[in-house]
Structure formats: structure tokens, C-alpha cells
């Protein structure tokens, strides 16, 4: 058995010390914030958004602040505070989507058509009155039956029954999106690509240099990328060169997409910091 050296801390011991350090840091940070916030609120009075709040808003802001710090604490290392915040986030999200699905879909679109009077009296007094309640009720049995069939996969036998509503969902979604995609993505995009390579300004009829560059790059890019994905011809010679240029276009596209994603993530962090500084601490 391998025993640690007497004067060398064990991994377990180091982990406990790190956790202790993290908890102490968070506690110190929390108390500092309380002191700072109290001082700022006393100085700034009503003009400060952190000041003059009702109790429940204050509780909400503090919860949000600790959740934010808890999630961010993962950047230091995995810790129980992060685990708690992560579990709360997942639990609340799952519960929210379930409740939302029930109240925004099942109640108005299914129960509201099967038993409209009952739904109106106990849940949704504003449920619109249908001109054809009988037809609505008859049609509502279709999604009801499909829903039960979908849940049948949880039963020990007859799992194949769930395949039928799945086929219905896939078929209708594909059918609905197919036509729209052909129209908006294939045809319209093809038309947008077929354009003059030399661009003149519409108002002055002057030669538009950058417009021309853009048009040429656009058309060359489309052709090169399409060539890269054309595997019926071996990528050698001219085809190989064109395909390699297509890879460059793809790499630039991925790079710009990544840059935009980074920009989005920085914005999210900036907004969280704004919340912590302004709404929680009242210092920005």
C-alpha cells in the first residue's frame, strides 16, 4: 500500500482545506457586501436601485446574487455551493417547463376543448367560447389518443404503439418544414447567389468597388464550399484546389461564428456583473 509521507498533505486533506478556504472567502465576501450595501444605501437614499426595496424583492435579489456567485465559484473548482446551485437550477427549470407545458398547452388546447365548461369554472375563466364546441371536442380526441399512445412506451408491453404517434410527429413536422425550407432556403438562397459580379451604385451608377468584391467573394465562396462537399469526383488538381479554398471559407465562417458566440457569452457575464454591482451591492 502506498502511504503518503507524514509531512505531505493528503489529497483529501488538501481538498478539505480548499473547501474551507472557499467557504471562508464566500462568507467574508457576503459580510463585506452587507456592510458595503448598507453604507451605500445610507448614503445614496432613494436614488439608488439597491436602496428602498420591499422585503421580498430584497430576498429575491440576495438569492439571485448567491446563485450567481455559486455558479461562478465553479471557475475556482468544483464545490458543494456550486452543486447546490446547479441542482436548484436544473430542478427549477424542469419544473418550470412541466408546469408551463401543462398550463399553456394541455389545459387550453386539450382540456379546454374536451371539457370547456369545467376548465372555465376552475382554471381559465377567460377561455374563449368556441362557435363549434362539438367539433372541437371530437378533434381533441385525436391528440388525446396520440398522447396516450406516446406514453405507452412506459408500459412493460406494447412499446411499438408509441412508434405511431412518433411517426405522426415526424411526418407532419417534416412535411411542414420541407416546403418552407425549399422555398426560403434553397430557392431564395440560390436566387440571392445568382447576381452580377460587377456592382454599380443604384443611385449614382458609379462603380462600387467593395460591392463588387463582396459579390465575387460570395459567389466564389459558395462554389468552393459546394465543391468541398462534392465527393463524386476525387479531390485532386483543380477540384482539389477549389475544395481546399472551400475549407478556408468554412474555417473563416466557423471562426466568425465562434467570435460571435464569445461576444454573446461576454455579454451574459457583463449582465451578471451589472446585476451584482448595481442591484445587489448598489455600487454601479
Amino acid at each position: 500500500m502506498n502511504h503518503p509521507e507524514p509531512n505531505q498533505p493528503t489529497t483529501h486533506g488538501r481538498g478539505r482545506r480548499s473547501y474551507r478556504l472557499l467557504w471562508i472567502s464566500l462568507a467574508v465576501l457576503g459580510f463585506s457586501m452587507v456592510a458595503l450595501r448598507t453604507a451605500v444605501a445610507a448614503q445614496s437614499g432613494e436614488g439608488n436601485p439597491a436602496a428602498a426595496r420591499d422585503l421580498w424583492t430584497t430576498v429575491g435579489v440576495w438569492c439571485a446574487a448567491f446563485m450567481t456567485l455559486g455558479i461562478l465559484s465553479f471557475l475556482y473548482k468544483d464545490n458543494p455551493f456550486y452543486k447546490v446551485c446547479e441542482s436548484i437550477l436544473i430542478g427549477v427549470s424542469a419544473a418550470y417547463w412541466m408546469v408551463n407545458g401543462f398550463w399553456s398547452t394541455l389545459v387550453p388546447n386539450l382540456f379546454g376543448k374536451l371539457v370547456p365548461g369545467f376548465v372555465r369554472s376552475v382554471a381559465l375563466p377567460d377561455l374563449p367560447v368556441s362557435a363549434t364546441p362539438g367539433l372541437d371536442m371530437a378533434l381533441a380526441f385525436v391528440p388525446l389518443a396520440l398522447g396516450f399512445m406516446l406514453l405507452w412506451r412506459l408500459a412493460p408491453r406494447g412499446g411499438w404503439i408509441a412508434v405511431w404517434p412518433l411517426a405522426f410527429i415526424i411526418g407532419t413536422t417534416a412535411g411542414m418544414r420541407l416546403v418552407a425550407s425549399i422555398e426560403a432556403d434553397l430557392l431564395a438562397q440560390t436566387v440571392a447567389t445568382v447576381r452580377p459580379l460587377v456592382v454599380f451604385d443604384q443611385a449614382t451608377s458609379a462603380f462600387n468597388f467593395w460591392g463588387t468584391v463582396g459579390a465575387i467573394v460570395s459567389v466564389v465562396g459558395v462554389l468552393c464550399v459546394l465543391t468541398y462537399f462534392f465527393f463524386s469526383v476525387e479531390h485532386k488538381g483543380v477540384v482539389g484546389g477549389t475544395a481546399r479554398l472551400g475549407i478556408w471559407f468554412l474555417m473563416i465562417t466557423f471562426g466568425s461564428a465562434f467570435g460571435l458566440t464569445v461576444m454573446g457569452r461576454i455579454t451574459l457575464l457583463a449582465q451578471r456583473f451589472e446585476f451584482l454591482f448595481r442591484d445587489w451591492m448598489g455600487i454601479a
Partner: protein, 298 residues
């Protein structure tokens, strides 16, 4: 691999390669926190896409009925709420009649927030039902857009208060999306701007102008639609900041102007954080090349 200098201690570049990533997290945190605390702001120069969005809303006749769809939730509000606020103020200042709706469940609450903090704050004279209407959220994703393209009253029988559309003057005669002069989707993904292009614009290509605001993540997916199928596009918080500049220049407000300047506030941290990232990428590559060349020399 020997990455030590002559004195036996690791060289700066070698240490850089093995730096604890938490120092980078800390540097990134500071690069975002400090500009916020110091209220750093930089001038924004509107780009063609922000101008196109602004022009699209300006080109629609005054008093037109426009639709703003809040197709996002609080997870994307940091990027999208600034442009939504600016757009609501822009439409109201131009005199347009605004119909609010959402394809995302929490979009309704964000639309309510924009109504309370922007529409009623800067345009308190506007009346519900005649100047603006909140239709709220409907489940169904692209199905909602597809049905609205032909039959809005079938999709939305009432507004969020339970009032039938027939009793609201602004939407009493609303039949389809073709009855709007402009549609804007502030979009964070699916369902969102792409669904409006696929199912509304394709159904009535010339009937209305379609603009969108997008998160950075999905911009590359939407760019091919501009400018043929999308008349304007606001690209993430940068687009929001540029658009805010255009709106503020033409329709300034006297108080609480910070509500229409959140995009510009968030561009300060963007600049510093991007500079840090560029610096780290350059340093990282120098360290890698130096390490390779040392390895090759040995």
C-alpha cells in the same frame, strides 16, 4: 523538454504555457468588471445592418400596425432586451401601433417589462387596445407562425387579459401577417427569426418588412437571409448598441435615458475583454511556437 533559461528557472514563455487557467478567469472577470465599475463607454458607429433595421422601421408609414415578437427568454435577455427596448421606443416614437407577442413562454414577461419600462415610461399617452396590444405567448413553435400567416384570429382568440381581439380596435380587423406593415422578431433561437422567414415571409414575400434582432450564437445561421429575406438585422449586443445610437440621435429622451443605452454600456466590457482575449491568443501562440522551435533545436 528543457524549457529553462540559463539560470535553471523556467523561462517566461514556458511558464506561460503552464499557467493555471484560473488566472485567466480572474483576468477575464476583471476585464469585464472594471469597465462596468468605471462606466467605460466607447463611441459606436452604426453599421449597414443596424442602419437597414432603423431605415426599415422609418420607411413604414407613420401609424402603421407593426408586430414585435419576443422570441427569447431571460437567459438571452442580456443580449436582446437592449435592442428590444430601443425598438419599442423607436416604433412608438415613429407613431406605429405595436402588437406584442411571443413564441417563447417567458417572452411575454419580457415584453411586459419593455411595455412597463419603455413604452409607458416614454410614451405614457399611448392607450392599450388602440395604440398597443399584448397578445402574449402561444404554444406551437413554427405552427403558430404558419397559422398566423393565414389566420391570426384562429391562433390568437384573445389578448393576455382575455379580451377578444374583436373588442380591441388595433387588432379587430387583423386577418393575417400580411396585415402588418412590419414584423420584427427578437430572436434567441428556435422558434424565432428563422421561422418567421420560413413561414411568414415566404408566404407573403412583399406584404411586410421583416427585421430581426439576434443573439451572437445564431447570427451565422441568419446572415444568409439578409438583405433579401430580412430587411434588417441587429447582430447581438453590438447591433443593439449601434441601433441605440441611431434611435437616440433621432428620438432622444429627457430622463431615464439609461434604459435605452444598455447595449452601449455592455460594449465597454466587450472591448476590454476582447483585447484581453486577443492578447492571450497572441501570447499563447508565441509560447507554442517558441516551445516548438526549442524542441526542434534540440
Amino acid at each position: 523538454m528543457n524549457e529553462h533559461n540559463g539560470s535553471g528557472s523556467p523561462s517566461f514563455l514556458a511558464r506561460l504555457g503552464g499557467i493555471d487557467r484560473r488566472w485567466i478567469f480572474l483576468a477575464m472577470g476583471l476585464s469585464i468588471a472594471l469597465p462596468i465599475l468605471l462606466k467605460l463607454r466607447f463611441p459606436e458607429y452604426p453599421g449597414p445592418m443596424a442602419k437597414a433595421t432603423f431605415d426599415a422601421i422609418e420607411s413604414v408609414p407613420e401609424g402603421s400596425r407593426v408586430l414585435i415578437a419576443f422570441d427569447y427568454d431571460p437567459a438571452s435577455a442580456a443580449e436582446l432586451q437592449p435592442m428590444a427596448n430601443a425598438m419599442v421606443h423607436h416604433c412608438a416614437s415613429r407613431g406605429h401601433k405595436i402588437v406584442f407577442m411571443a413564441l417563447w413562454p417567458l417572452g411575454r414577461q419580457l415584453a411586459d417589462k419593455a411595455i412597463a419600462e419603455v413604452l409607458l415610461e416614454f410614451h405614457p399617452q399611448l392607450q392599450y387596445g388602440t395604440d398597443y396590444v399584448q397578445l402574449g405567448y402561444q404554444a406551437g413553435n413554427e405552427g403558430v407562425v404558419k397559422l398566423m400567416a393565414t389566420n391570426v384570429p384562429e391562433q390568437y382568440k384573445t389578448d393576455t387579459k382575455g379580451t377578444p381581439l374583436a373588442n380591441l380596435p388595433l387588432v379587430a380587423d387583423l386577418r393575417s401577417t400580411a396585415d402588418f406593415k412590419l414584423i420584427s422578431s427578437i430572436s434567441a433561437g428556435y422558434p424565432g427569426a428563422r421561422e418567421w422567414v420560413l413561414f411568414a415571409e415566404s408566404a407573403n414575400p412583399e406584404a411586410f418588412k421583416l427585421v430581426c434582432g439576434s443573439t451572437g450564437v445564431q447570427v451565422s445561421q441568419l446572415l444568409p437571409y439578409y438583405p433579401k429575406q430580412l430587411d434588417g438585422m441587429l447582430v447581438a449586443v453590438k447591433g443593439a448598441a449601434e441601433y441605440e445610437m441611431l434611435v437616440e440621435d433621432k428620438y432622444p429622451v429627457e430622463k431615464n435615458a439609461d434604459r435605452l443605452g444598455q447595449g452601449r454600456v455592455r460594449m465597454g466590457p466587450q472591448l476590454v475583454a476582447h483585447l484581453l482575449m486577443i492578447g492571450l491568443i497572441v501570447l499563447g501562440n508565441i509560447a507554442m511556437v517558441a516551445g516548438r522551435s526549442r524542441g526542434g533545436a534540440q
